[in-house]
Homo-oligomer: 148 residues x 2
DNA sequence: AGCAAGTAATTAACATGTTAAATAAATGCC
DNA sequence: GGCATTTATTTAACATGTTAATTACTTGCT
């Protein structure tokens, strides 16, 4: 059996845990959960997205996203409306209030990124991001092949 | 606001998702959950561990581990006993039955790793593992400093 | 020795995620 | 054009994770 220390999923989990530990205090202060933050942040970059597309972009299952959006909508941080051509679609967008939350967080977030990059080293950080990106792409196409 | 695409936590999550997609069918076939698998695998390398130490090693909070161990113990895949010197401690070990499950999984697991390494590329894979390891170490010490 | 403070693990209450079934609408086939 | 099939999302039932409170024990102080 391959030693635990060589487990890729565990390393990814531990790295994520270590990174999130730095962001959690700011999320708490801003009053958003980790997942709500992912939603708001993704919406900042787009005018209006379909729920399913959003779910894929932020690695959430649709049922989870459904509940999270219900909360965000209740708090007026996002808007939802039905598609015009295709009425099954739910089109989601961020409100000014939601954007304000993101902008408040953004300052803290950038500070943390600076600290992280300094701790990890600028070069190592960039290499890690690139390696991850490449691995994700390759793995996704491997998985895609396996699905048919 | 930094684009979503440059989010380190999200990249780590996506990479983990992509990797786990390959292992999940085997876990399902072996009848263990992702977390049970982490426990069994960690125990394979050690004679007997304290619950807290185990939790840290596999990135699980103690209360979660507590429940998971209750199930594993009921199924006779692990043994638990109290410490002798320190009776607060719970010492956990794997049973032969547990070891059998791990060994069955191990074959499939190694095959998947081979496929993953081939897809990602041997060099890129090794680089990713090293970068992750280095980042985890650096981030942990950054977090440790922040705690005091 | 006796008690306050700290530590390891568990339990309880709650939040979140997941899988499967239900709903609603679009597409394609005859 | 009507009906079976597929697609997008939601709801429901359940499993899992999380935080805070509890239990049981140890340690250190006097």
């Amino acid at each position: 059996m391959r030693p635990l220390h060589q487990s890729l999923p565990l390393k990814l989990l531990m790295a994520r845990e270590a990174v999130m530990e730095r962001f959690r205090p700011h999320l708490l202060a801003a009053g958003v959960t980790e997942q709500q933050w992912r939603v708001l942040r993704a919406l900042c970059e787009r005018e209006e997205v379909e729920a399913g597309e959003l779910a894929d972009a932020i690695c959430l299952k649709l049922p989870s996203l459904s509940r999270i959006m219900a909360d965000l909508s209740r708090d007026r941080l996002i808007n939802r409306r039905n598609g015009v051509n295709d009425k099954r679609l739910r089109l989601v967008s961020i409100t000014p209030k939601g954007r304000a939350v993101v902008e408040k967080m953004a300052r803290h977030s950038e500070k943390e990124y600076a600290q992280i990059q300094e701790a990890v080293g600028a070069k190592a950080y960039a290499a890690l991001m690139d390696d991850l990106e490449a691995a994700i792409t390759k793995l996704n196409s491997l998985n895609q092949d396996a699905r048919d």
